[in-house]
Amino acid sequence: MSILLKRFLFWGLISLFIINSIVIYTSGTENDPAKAYITEESKAGKLLFQEYNCISCHQIYGLGGYMGPDLTNVISERGKGELYAKSFIQSGTQRMPNFHLSENDVNALTSYLKYVDKTGFSPVKNFEIKFDGTIMQKANL
């Protein structure tokens, strides 16, 4: 293969990558269905969620550790909800540590989970498989 073609392929890929990155940083991820639920409290909650490494045991959108349940929709799931989530965060369980959080922190974490809940569904339980192997998501029942 000629050097010229190799160069063309290489720089072509790099250029596409740069364009792709910029689009992903901006318009590709602009649409946040739950924007209205972002509050100062939920923003603080997100940082607490990272500080206590909740993700080592829990998942958001299936991403994270597997010791505890996926938290994406804990707020809206049947039989669960805000108070339910709060009680876990406040006191832990046999497997989940009690972090001895202040009431403010518990509220912030819950408020973050309330925002996460409105962004979408995980796990997706209601979907249709299309002929090409892709998925059409529907609202969870």
Partner: protein
């Protein structure tokens, strides 16, 4: 005598591997036996495990590069001093990271679970490595073998993806969850891609050295592997986030880009194996074995990887232990096997220390124990994951009931992990002893 700086990296890398396996084994038991070894709870063990085994991959690949460039590529290191600063910086930062985990201080992001401030020295250490690498290899005249490109790409993309992984410190990225997750996993995918560049480049290098001619790393096939690997690294990450509600094209792009890179690497190893004379296979018996094992794991992982990148399969497997099987299969089966081949190659080279028969046998037992345990490990994870995936979507059982159902598989998985740990311990202790002897020699 000035010691080979590469060997110091190898020494630290093996230590990090063994420590990382230790914490990993403990975490897997904490998973199934709540309260097990409570001195270090699970949420501290898991990041210890991840950070240490990631260091194994990076340190052993870097050690190889520092060793191979002057010795085999005719390229004396630009600055030995800079390499010494690099290793100290890496080592001290490593200790700080371990300390912060033990104290329960986290950054709480997958792969990089330490407080964000410690990312700065990590970044600087990579810049030093990058400067040293480029200042060294840019002196090379004539066509570069593909591994020099791969290492260069691995370093550049590491710096890029590491920066990208920290974009969350800006509220613009952090506050919108969809953007945050998408950018995070874009970076995560490229991170794995960049270490694969370092590791697969090492595989090509070791194959070339064993064979004794340069054709392997200058072939057309090797070039295509590089190009596809690069494409994959840049665009093939979105299977992590299929269910995150991003713009749909982001998902389709990734689905379109398959795992062709691995297919080609597998073909290269296969061609190389069939073209190698028996005498060389015998002489380089240990590295050879590990490279061939990696080829088998490439094949098994390829099947799994292709399957889970199909959205209709991914919807069941995402967020289950099948993802872990995929990650562990590639990190241990492919990356670790290749890096062990490189480590064994370097050690017999530098120490002129012929492993005595007992040691060879220990390594052989370790080799088999690791591979057989890894196979069981993956099988149990796949079964546990498949069962969890089905049960979650069927939506009839609670989380606790599901976990109870898959518990027997997870117990078996934890024991298979002990097998891997023991196997790798047997494999790495003889080389570790050789390295220590070498480093202590006046």
């Amino acid at each position: 005598m000035k010691k080979e700086i590469g060997i110091v990296f190898i020494f630290l890398s093996i230590t990090a591997l063994l420590a990382g396996l230790f914490f990993g084994t403990i975490s897997s038991f904490q998973f199934v036996y709540p309260g097990f070894f409570d001195v270090i709870p699970f949420f501290k063990n898991r990041p210890l495990h991840v950070s240490l085994v990631v260091s194994w991959i990076f340190l052993s690949a870097m050690g190889g590069i520092y060793y191979y460039l002057p010795k085999y590529c005719g390229l004396p290191l630009f600055s030995r001093k800079m390499a010494v600063v690099h290793i100290w910086l890496f080592f001290i930062t490593g200790l700080l990271i371990i300390t912060s985990y033990m104290m329960g201080k986290f950054g709480g992001r997958e792969y990089w679970e330490f407080p964000a401030i410690l990312a700065i020295p990590v970044f600087i250490s990579w810049v030093l490595f990058g400067i040293n690498y480029f200042k060294t290899v840019l002196k090379k005249i004539g066509q570069w073998p593909v591994y020099l490109w791969m290492w260069a790409t691995g370093i550049c993309f590491f710096l890029f993806t590491f920066t990208e992984a920290y974009l969350w410190v800006f509220p613009y990225f952090r506050n919108n969850l969809i953007r945050d997750l998408t950018v995070q996993w874009k970076a995560g995918g490229a991170l794995v891609g960049s270490w694969n560049m370092l590791v697969y480049g090492t595989a090509l290098f070791v194959m070339e050295r064993i064979k004794g001619d340069e054709s392997v790393a200058k072939s057309k096939l090797a070039f295509w592997m590089y190009l596809l690997g690069l494409t994959n690294l840049m665009f093939g990450w979105a299977h992590h986030i299929y269910i995150v509600p991003t713009a749909p094209w982001i998902r389709y792009l990734s689905y379109g880009i398959s795992m062709t890179e691995l297919l080609i690497l597998s073909k290269i190893i296969w061609n190389w194996k069939s073209s190698l004379e028996q005498a060389k296979k015998d002489y380089y018996f240990l590295p050879f074995r590990f490279l061939v094992a990696s080829d088998i794991w490439i094949f098994l992982n390829l099947i799994l990887a292709i399957l889970i990148s199909i959205p209709a399969v991914n919807i069941y497997t995402h967020g289950t232990h099948i993802t872990v099987a995929h990650a562990m299969g590639s990190a241990i089966g492919i990356n670790t096997m290749i890096l062990l081949a490189s480590v064994l190659f370097i050690i017999s080279d530098v120490t002129k220390f012929e492993f005595v028969n007992v040691q060879k046998n220990i390594i052989r037992v370790g080799f088999w124990l690791t591979n057989v345990s890894l196979l069981l490990f993956m099988i149990f994870l796949v079964i546990a994951g498949a069962e969890k995936g089905m049960l979650v979507i069927e939506n009839k059982l609670t989380f606790q009931e599901i976990m109870q159902k898959i518990d027997p598989y997870l117990v078996s998985f934890a024991w298979a992990g002990v097998g891997i740990f023991t196997g790798l311990l047997l494999t790495t202790v003889p080389p570790l002893i050789a390295v220590i002897k070498y480093l202590r020699k006046k």
